[in-house]
Symmetry: C2
Subunit: 333 residues, 2 copies
């Protein structure tokens, strides 16, 4: 578990998109952010107070989170100077970068000498059990997608926020690197060893109050041949009571697979639901989340209405319309 | 890849069942076995010539394979003496034990000093790619089961043998520890990191002659909530042209999951086939393999006939009836 609050490191981000992890933390857990640390030439700005390391620490920061993608897969010397100083001044470091903090000899040495933690959220830090399939108390909802990167994380974060706004007991459960950095906790499911995937999801969503909802971030897609096994482990380990179908209607083919067309929402429903009912016979599909970022407002509204009509399920773009109707569908379950 | 032929180490096996890995190698790859090495008190006998290490080496052995389960998860001192001597005399070691050869300091040191290899087949030795889903040449058949341990490995080994008997081009593709030790090659799929599971299966079953069949050992079950993700990675990474359904009719519940009943063969067919057709629209279910080990001959024959009638598919117990009819079903495809 990563200590909060955070000082967000934006480095020398060449554009706002490069800092999208930091932006996600800022959007979804503003209470965890004391400020931003920017280097010369940084083109991203989260609208948070700019702080030095000392100012961040004075404001209560416990961890410097690398919220920016690095170029070329190396942690450059300009960053290193800041990261080493952060450890020396008493901050932990957290990163979702491909190249690990712990593999940098200087960072590893300074962390050890200062007793600070290096959190590489791509690497599982727990020995997960093998799933036992035992029915757990509490309720769970999982996002399943027609494809990778259609908005499952955004949907579940928005749903969690909408549920808590309504006074429902809800916890967002991160299953990927960005989600873990946003909330400080979760499982990097795509990095877990095959035999323990479903067990990791069980571990992430344990027994809880009967009226508590775990809102589980989905990964991949049952129809994405590269990652479908991860998606199925979420369905079986999560034993969800409810599924939300996620879709991006303008995509021409499955992400990274030019020869594969996207399944229809009906196909995803008809594949995911019987699989989910193996672990939880009461599971239902309760709503649809459409990512309309490539559409105008009118087209987006028409698209959601058409799908709502076709599927007979509340259909929203949580970014445009909020996730309130999905939260209500869960409350009504 | 493990160097063949093997000298099979049976240790002090307390009964024949403890040496079932060695028995599997003896049954399916007799040409790879020069002899057996037994210690005092060994209660297993494969009917192979008993040999000392020196005799095994003189007969051409390249690797001493630990074909016996150890008690209590430790590699005891009585075994150690033999294993160290084997390395010193020029044999590699191969093992599917939970506790790894490489984690034994004495074995690791002697292997390094002598330049011999320690093969722990539970540990992936390749950096597998992420699956790309590109259609490959050649044909593939995969065993899918109603449960774990219903006979998928036996079925595919028997099918491979029956196909080669008929002059078909066929390669058994091992996806578990025992299969890897039997053939000297394969992937320990349950130990592969989630993101690379399907890619490992693609790597295992590459482009081949149009009339060549990869006969892929199945793992787990789509209906087994602990391991279903592994099963789906096989279906999508293997992009099979044909599926064989495997079942053990007397089992009371899913292995290790007392609250879960087994699916019917129809349910497995209806779940596995549409998933397989995502990667290979031409995929068909071509036969059923029934493990009748807990039935008498009459009951077994009646059971297979009843299922054949019900499913409209050739149905055999490969152990009792051979896998010839399954091979013919593939040849007719």
């Amino acid at each position: 578990m990563i200590q909060t609050p955070y000082l967000l490191f934006l480095g020398d981000a060449p554009d706002p998109l490069a800092a999208k992890v930091a932006q996600g933390i800022r959007d979804w857990r503003p209470e965890n952010c004391v400020g931003q640390f920017r280097m010369e030439g940084c083109k991203a700005d989260l609208g948070l107070p700019d702080m030095t390391l000392a100012e961040g620490i004075a404001a209560g920061a416990k961890t410097l989170v690398i919220g920016v993608a690095n170029r070329g897969g190396k942690i450059g010397q300009t960053w290193k100077k800041v990261l080493v100083a952060a450890l020396e001044e008493g901050l932990d470091l957290a990163s979702g970068l491909h190249n690990l903090l712990r593999d940098e000899p200087d960072l590893a040495a300074v962390a050890q000498a200062t007793g600070r933690a290096l959190h590489d959220v791509r690497v599982p830090e727990v020995e997960y059990p093998i799933a036992n399939g035992v029915k757990r108390r509490g309720k769970r909802v999982l996002a399943v997608g027609t494809d990778c990167s259609v908005g499952k994380m955004y949907t579940t974060l928005a749903l969690d926020a909408a549920m808590r706004e309504r006074g429902m007991k809800s916890t967002f459960r991160a299953t990927g690197q960005t989600g873990i950095l946003i909330t400080g906790d979760g499982i990097p499911l795509d990095a877990v060893v095959a035999d323990f995937m479903a067990g990791a999801v069980e571990w992430l969503t344990p027994d809880n109050d009967p009226d508590h909802w775990d809102v589980i971030e989905g990964q991949g897609s049952l129809h994405h041949v590269s990652f479908s096994g991860v998606s199925l482990a979420l369905i079986h380990g999560g034993q969800p009571d409810a599924l939300i179908l996620c879709h991006e209607p303008t995509r021409a083919h499955m992400r990274g697979l030019p020869d594969y067309t996207l399944p229809t929402l009906e196909q995803v429903r008809d594949m995911a639901l019987p699989l989910a009912q193996v672990a939880n016979p009461a599971c239902r599909v309760v709503g649809v989340s459409i990512n309309t970022q490539h559409m105008g407002a009118t087209e987006a509204a028409r698209c959601c209405a058409e799908i709502e009509d076709r599927m007979g399920l509340p259909t929203v773009d949580p970014f445009r319309h909020g996730a309130g109707r999905l939260a209500e569908a869960l409350a009504a379950l």
